[in-house]
Symmetry: C2
Subunit: 281 residues, 2 copies
């Protein structure tokens, strides 16, 4: 079993020093709880609700910036695997990125491919598949927030053998019926279950320029059952669960089924999606 | 709004007459509740737990068989759209199929593509995409049971404009943590939500040769919220909800997002899945 923690925090927009301090404190708390993998929210370094690219660029950093240097130092000092979202500058462009960091340093950067809503006015989308990073706890991958709602995209790391999908997210508040789990959590559970791949989604809290958040941090097992969750839109908290990452190696279900081997890939889209037979009235 | 009903019944294996009678009674009950679309379970005609193809063949019928003739008559007499699962014989082969029937007759037959577990010892899988059927209530499609757990497959009718995905299912009992909604329901909710396409899954009940069932009949709206559900492994019941099928025409979410237009299809698999960048230890 691997102890996975998600730090549901409230970054402050444009206040990079404050955000680094909060991350460091929360990571220390998670490590105190035994965490071997620690996940931070999307855009933890910078906050989210930028007006435009120019404003985001002022909070952007590259892999040699202070935030990633801090995360590398924390991962080294604590001996953990750390995944967090940051505002990445690359020339004139700004990306909504996630870094995978371990005790040896920054291992991979992933740039969010599916930009949500107004993010397209601020960020340049990535165009590379989620990375597969071999770490001390197993094969880990990462996507960011809205990426989780495109099951085709989640399949990529799952089919490549990821044992844990760590997703920094900022889920904007989107109330559903009373008593219902957030829709984004339901979709993350499905992502996990149809792939037998545990998922950890680390959400944020705290109003930012009028945007509220789901605060729906969740850690699932390979079947998509919720092991631990946040469920608070305003309370910072460290959510922790023991996760069986070995379970992801076994895609079998029932006596003769296998969630990956049972795919009928030859029937799936090649170039363009196959058109159904149509039955007009 | 369209009134959709799912008849959660307990077919008896090999007792085709009994099953036809039960279906007819339940359909009449659904119509009495105002149903315009009625869905029956997977393999309603025949029961499920066949030992082998030879045994299933004895319960198999084709489009001219008594079950589909009955369904066509019921759809005509009640003026409804009817979707149900039946054991389809085609020469030596037996398919786990769904029929879409309306007042004009049998409109389409779909053969389950993703066979669950021991079904592969009994049935020949289909190899055609889910049909799109223009009906009096809108564009309807159908898949069967385990097909719902392959989001690539659900995308096909969704991208083709289906306004309701009607899925006959037989979900074998697979207990989860106390208080949790069945995993299959969670996945159906995600199928709906990531496509903004309402889903109705009609499950069965009643032990059959030692196999129990989830009894997880569910009707969702376009966001994947549960409008109505069964949640009983032994009680036959007709589950009804008013569903806004027009909502499926609008894929927008937030101010600038669209669950289909936001797909990055050019990055998705063409022939073979794109391999992630690998970061060995």
């Amino acid at each position: 079993m691997t102890v996975v923690a998600a730090c549901q925090l409230g970054p402050r927009i444009g206040e990079l020093d404050v955000n680094r301090d909060r991350a460091a404190s929360a990571i220390a708390e998670a490590v105190g709880l035994g965490a071997e993998v620690v996940v931070l929210p999307e855009l933890m370094s910078s906050g989210y609700a930028f007006t435009d690219t120019a404003e985001a660029r002022a909070s952007a950093e590259d892999v040699d910036g202070e935030t990633l240097r801090q995360w590398a130092a924390l991962a080294r000092d604590h001996g953990i695997v750390l995944v967090g979202g940051f505002c990445e500058g690359a020339g004139d462009r700004v990306h909504n990125s996630a870094a995978v960091v371990d005790r040896t340093g920054v291992r991979a950067i992933y740039r969010k491919v599916h930009l949500w809503d107004r993010e397209r006015l601020v960020f340049t989308p990535g165009d590379a598949a989620p990375p597969i990073v071999e770490t001390q706890v197993g094969r880990l991958s990462t996507v960011v927030c809205y990426d989780l709602e495109f099951p085709e995209w989640v399949r990529i790391p799952a089919l490549a053998g990821a044992q844990l999908l760590a997703a920094p997210v900022n889920w904007p508040a989107n109330p559903g019926p009373d008593g219902e789990r957030p829709a984004e959590v339901v979709r993350a559970q499905a992502d996990a279950g149809v792939n037998r791949m545990p998922v950890v989604a680390c959400d944020r809290v705290g109003d930012e320029r009028g945007v509220g958040w789901v605060g729906g941090t969740v850690i699932t097992d390979a079947d998509g059952w919720v092991l631990a969750g946040g469920w608070s839109s305003d309370r910072e908290q460290v959510v922790v669960a023991e996760v069986d990452l070995e379970a992801a190696a076994d895609k079998r279900v029932g006596q003769m089924s296998d969630v990956h081997a049972d795919r009928r890939a030859a029937l799936y889209p090649t170039d363009g999606w196959p058109m159904p037979e149509r039955h007009p009235r």
